[in-house]
């Protein structure tokens, strides 16, 4: 029963936390109606982070879980960020030092030919 003792803990008011989560959901839905891009980004992703934190802390009980579990989760998130940092330049940029995307090259060469033909006329 030692494990039982280790698992038993004070429970927060889950219904209250759920109500706050629903309030945040309403704000994230209402945000885009203001039509301000920055506000939409904050109400969409800022609130998503807050909601995820609240669920992880209160429902998954990460706040009272062994510390190494938190480090394990954070390490995985760092891996995702590393993946993003490593690959996003290839995806989001059309050219860089000594490289250019073939599709862009074709498109630009098409434009160049078109311009040349236009000038020739």
């Amino acid at each position: 029963m030692a494990d039982h003792a280790a698992t038993a803990h004070e429970h927060p008011n889950y219904v209250k936390i759920w109500a706050i989560l629903l309030g945040l959901l309403c704000i994230s839905i209402a945000g885009p109606f203001l039509g301000i891009k920055v506000v939409t980004l904050i109400t969409a992703f800022g609130i998503a982070i807050v909601k995820a934190y609240m669920v992880a802390k209160n429902f998954m009980h990460l706040n009272i879980e062994r510390q190494y579990v938190v480090y394990l989760i954070l390490t995985m998130l760092v891996f995702v960020l590393l993946f993003f940092a490593g690959t996003s330049p290839d995806v989001m940029k059309w050219q860089g030092d000594n490289w250019v995307k073939p599709k862009v090259e074709q498109a630009s060469s098409h434009v160049t030919h078109h311009d040349a033909a236009h000038h020739a006329e």
Binding site: M1, D3, H4, A6, T7, A8, H11, Y14, V15, W18, L21, L22, L25, S28, I29, G31, P32, T40, L41, T43, A44, F45, I47, A48, K51, A52, V55, A56, N58, F59, M60, E65, R66, Y68, V69, L72, I73, T75, M76, L77, F79, V80, L81, F83, F84, T87, S88, V91, M92
Partner: protein, 189 residues
């Protein structure tokens, strides 16, 4: 009464819980990689606005409500299990399963409408991401719901009550994934 946690433990916690955290850690990389790929593609393709405008924020919002509520019943089931009330835990887990069924039914309705309008997996890269991310998530909802039925059946007989917490951790993670999918696919148009 059977013990709430199993007697085997490693690394300072019951092995079952440790295993679930490993599953969650692995899933973070799977979903994280997928969502990170979507974000970088979305930022590189502002012309996707015409496609993202099609998704229905009210349907996505309703499904978020359903999953948040199912998470509430899952954590209340965990609380009941800790108090040794297997019947109450089972009842609350069945409510969570009801949430899973509702979520999938809404998703089926949504996808049927979208596919009916010609937006399929191969329409363009946005829809490929949309169906892949939401589809993998939906599979997790279905899988979690089925496992929960088994856990609830045991809990009803006051057996293996520690599993109520384990399926709860998994379910909350599925909820968190949707918390990020919702703004990405439905709000940030």
């Amino acid at each position: 009464m059977r013990p709430i946690a199993n007697t085997r433990s490693s690394a300072g916690m019951p092995t079952g819980r440790l295993a679930v955290w490993w599953v969650v850690a692995s899933e973070i990389v799977i979903f994280g990689g997928l969502l990170a790929s979507y974000v970088m593609q979305r930022l590189a393709h502002p012309e996707w606005t015409t496609q993202t405008a099609v998704t229905n924020v009210w349907i996505g919002g309703f499904n978020t409500f359903v999953l948040l509520t199912s998470s509430l019943s899952a954590v209340l089931a965990h609380q009941a299990a800790e108090h040794g009330d297997g019947k109450k835990a089972a009842k609350l887990l069945y409510y969570t399963c009801g949430g899973a069924v509702t979520f999938i039914c809404v998703k089926a309705f949504e996808w049927t409408t979208e596919i009916g309008h010609g937006y399929t997996l191969s329409s363009n890269t946005f829809w490929s991401f949309y169906y892949t991310a939401a589809g993998i998530h939906a599979l997790h909802v279905i899988g979690g719901g089925i496992i929960m039925l088994f856990v609830a059946a045991d809990a009803k007989k006051n057996l293996e009550l520690h599993r109520v917490e384990l399926i709860g951790i998994y379910w909350h993670f599925v909820d968190i994934v949707w918390i990020f999918l919702f703004p990405l696919l439905y709000i940030a148009k």
